[in-house]
């Protein structure tokens, strides 16, 4: 129960202050604070670093950029640690990773590299509908192929990032709609509709890859 853990940590932090105040004021109290603060961050961050990196890696689709995003996000998280009072450290950190990716990293990225996203233009054309229908019948067979892993990773990487992120958060991090809505800063209904579209697109991508190979 993370809530209890944080409450306990907050408690020990406060006690640290009080005890330090009784013995020696000033610098020592500051150091104690620093230590428990660092301890709190250390726990959050070691627990959720893999989730943060996996999320950044799927957003950026590149190792070096993912590392930069995670480093920057962790610095931001450390700075805003005082503002975090919730009990869901993973969702909190992932929200910062996402925010970092979209503001800091995107600005530094060359224009036109990202997959274009337009929720309305994602409406399927006739060809896609046919792909979707045959994919529904053959998904089991596609997934049993020897290169299923490559096909799935390629299909996921091809998704526009707004769709890719909800799938990664849902299927790889197993987060609830509510947590995803908080992280992606969209209403709950949008999480559901994006997941529905993302899964349709994934089926189409898999079917196309299957046809081409």
């Amino acid at each position: 129960m993370p809530g209890a853990v944080y409450a306990r940590m907050a408690q020990s932090r406060v006690q640290g202050r009080v005890f330090a105040g009784l013995s020696a004021p000033g610098v020592e109290a500051f150091e104690l604070d620093e230590r428990s603060r660092a301890r709190r961050f250390e726990q959050l961050f070691t627990q959720h670093l893999d989730a943060a990196y996996n999320f950044a890696r799927w957003l950026a689709r590149d190792e070096r950029n993912a590392e930069d995003v995670v480093q920057e996000a962790c610095l931001r998280a450390f700075k805003s640690l005082d503002g975090f009072h919730g009990d869901n450290g993973r969702a909190w950190l992932l929200a910062i990773v996402r925010n970092t990716y979209y503001t800091w990293f995107r600005r530094n990225k060359a224009e036109g590299q990202s997959v274009p996203f337009d929720e309305d233009s994602m409406a399927a054309n006739g060809h896609d509908v046919a792909d979707l229908e045959s994919a529904i019948g053959s998904i089991d067979r596609i997934l049993q192929q020897r290169d299923a892993q490559r096909l799935v990773n390629a299909a996921l990487a091809r998704l526009p990032e707004e769709f890719r992120e909800v799938v990664v958060l849902r299927e790889l991090e197993d987060l609830s709609y509510k947590e995803i809505a908080t992280i992606a800063r969209v209403p709950l209904g949008t999480v559901m509709s994006r997941l529905a579209r993302a899964r349709k697109l994934l089926l189409q991508h898999l079917q196309q890859a299957q046809r081409e190979s």
């Binding site: 129960m1 996996n54 993912a66 005082d82 299927e171």
Partner: protein, 256 residues
């Protein structure tokens, strides 16, 4: 429920984001509609395919240390630290003490909340187990009003032996038993009848043992009685009214 409604909720169903009545409605539609069922099967296959095959990128081994050194090495990069300075400790002491008290309170509250949340989740599972057994006609695996048939059958399949008294005298004839899965473990489900109603009594060992007096809950139109005794946890659930379910629990507890 028609196909349009069912398909609009298919993803919420797949992701277990629907409440129990919503999920049961989809269950029923899928059982009757092969097209929707095929669609659901494809989505379920896709989902497990992604979970199995999509790469989970763990952080590189040295990333944590690089971040630590960044945070530790240059305090100038971390202005928020200034907020933690504690210039006049004496002046703040009462505030600190109050905060400590508040932290203790919230800690206690968090522990209590944790156990309430746990119970809530078990209660949801008990209700789901009951609804499933009634709806899917998977109510009884060993049909017998004879306690000497039901008890050995359950004991042979579980690592504990639930008490199976016959309560026909009290108006609750034994109908049989089955295995179910609750609270992350196989449990005994005893089925009793009361007039036209079904009472499911779930029994499983409880590490927290000790005696916990009966407690009544009501949720989604069902009544629930739960208690613990001699290392076993009991959850009785039914659509009978609360007073009748209480009579049942008392009859069971005194007969065992």
């Amino acid at each position: 429920m028609n196909c349009t409604e069912s398909r609009s909720r298919l993803h919420a169903y797949l992701d277990q984001e629907l409440d129990l009545p919503g999920a049961v409605a989809i269950d029923q539609h899928l059982a009757a509609c092969p097209e929707c069922k095929a669609l659901f099967a494809a989505q379920a296959a896709l989902r497990s395919g992604i979970r199995r095959h999509a790469e989970y990128h763990a952080a590189p081994a040295d990333l944590a240390d690089r971040i630590r050194s960044k945070i530790g090495a240059s305090p100038a990069d971390v202005p928020a630290r200034r907020g933690w300075r504690w210039p006049q400790v004496g002046q703040w002491l009462p505030v600190g003490a109050a905060a400590a008290a508040a932290a203790v309170i919230s800690w206690t509250a968090a522990i209590q909340y944790a156990s309430v949340a746990e119970d809530q989740s078990v209660a949801e599972q008990v209700i789901a187990g009951h609804a499933r057994s009634v709806l899917t006609s998977h109510l009884i695996e060993v049909a017998s009003s004879d306690q000497h048939t039901v008890k050995p059958w359950l004991s042979s399949k579980l690592d504990f032996s639930p008490p199976v008294p016959d309560l026909a005298g009290a108006g609750f004839p034994l109908a049989g038993g089955r295995l179910d899965y609750l609270d992350n473990r196989p449990v005994a489900a005893l089925v009793y009848r009361y007039r036209q109603h079904v009472i499911n009594l779930f029994v499983w060992p409880d590490a927290k043992s000790g005696r916990v007096p009966p407690e009544a809950l009501a949720k989604h139109g069902y009544n629930v009685q739960r208690w613990s005794d001699a290392g076993l946890t009991f959850w009785a659930i039914s659509d009978v009214n609360a007073a009748e379910l209480k009579t049942f629990s008392e009859a069971y507890a005194s007969a065992r």
